[in-house]
């Protein structure tokens, strides 16, 4: 049973436009959420996180939105750049534990 789901395996966006990556979760005990970015043949790297006490967190071109009632979070990238092309994983954890549960990943392709 997938507790964290990324239902879009891939997304293609034009350079300069907004990329929106979505993630849904089922466990209401999750209260900390993260996005990781992964390039081919490399390990995932941390991108941005959000605690359940917030509904938005922004870092440069990256913004994560959290809708707790819908158990949904999204990552917005504005403006998108070709170097953003990668696989993006969302992950969730409960604050009482340190284990992350990852989604399946969404492959973003930003076209020049």
């Amino acid at each position: 049973d997938q507790q964290v789901k990324q239902n879009s395996p891939s997304l293609s966006v034009q350079e300069g436009r907004i990329s929106i990556l979505n993630c849904d979760y089922t466990n209401s005990m999750f209260d900390y959420f993260l996005w990781y970015k992964k390039y081919p043949a490399e390990g995932p790297t941390f991108l941005i996180s959000i605690s359940s006490i917030k509904d938005k967190n922004e870092d440069g071109r990256f913004t994560v939105f959290l809708n707790k009632s819908a158990k949904h979070l999204s990552l917005h990238i504005v403006p998108s750049q070709p170097g953003d092309s990668a696989v993006y994983f969302c992950a969730a954890s409960g604050s009482r534990g340190r284990k992350l549960i990852f989604g399946q990943g969404t492959e973003l392709s930003v076209k020049p």
């Binding site: 990324q6 390990g43 941390f46 954890s93 284990k99 989604g103």
Partner: protein, 113 residues
């Protein structure tokens, strides 16, 4: 440069053989993790260690064992490899608090024939 190293980079292994994947970090992180990445399934936690001397089971522990004799090293052993263990394996570490960022190694690509 501080970080996490994994060895080997890739390996082809006959079914039934024993294999140990190595992971070393030099950041003095308390917590370490092993994940496998499979297409369509994302990253799944195999085993973890919150501090040296302790280990715990993740989502998919069967067929794998770990040890944490010291802070820096966290080897993952496949006692008798099976083809379903063909995957890319990532080791990660974190300082140890619940919201600490996990830092990942470059991965080991394992093929079991």
């Amino acid at each position: 440069i501080a970080g996490i190293t994994q060895a080997p980079t890739s390996q082809i292994l006959a079914a039934g053989r024993r294999m140990t994947l190595r992971c070393t970090q030099d950041m003095r992180h308390n917590a370490m993790y092993w994940y496998r990445q499979d297409l369509g399934l994302g990253l799944r936690l195999i085993h973890y260690s919150n501090t040296a001397g302790t280990t715990g089971k993740g989502e998919v522990p069967d067929g794998y064992s770990v040890s944490r004799a010291n802070t820096d090293d966290f080897p993952l052993t496949l006692a008798s490899a099976v083809p379903s263990q063909t995957s890319v394996y990532f080791c990660a570490s974190a300082r140890g608090q619940a919201t600490d960022t996990q830092y990942f190694g470059p991965g080991t690509r394992l093929t079991v024939l």
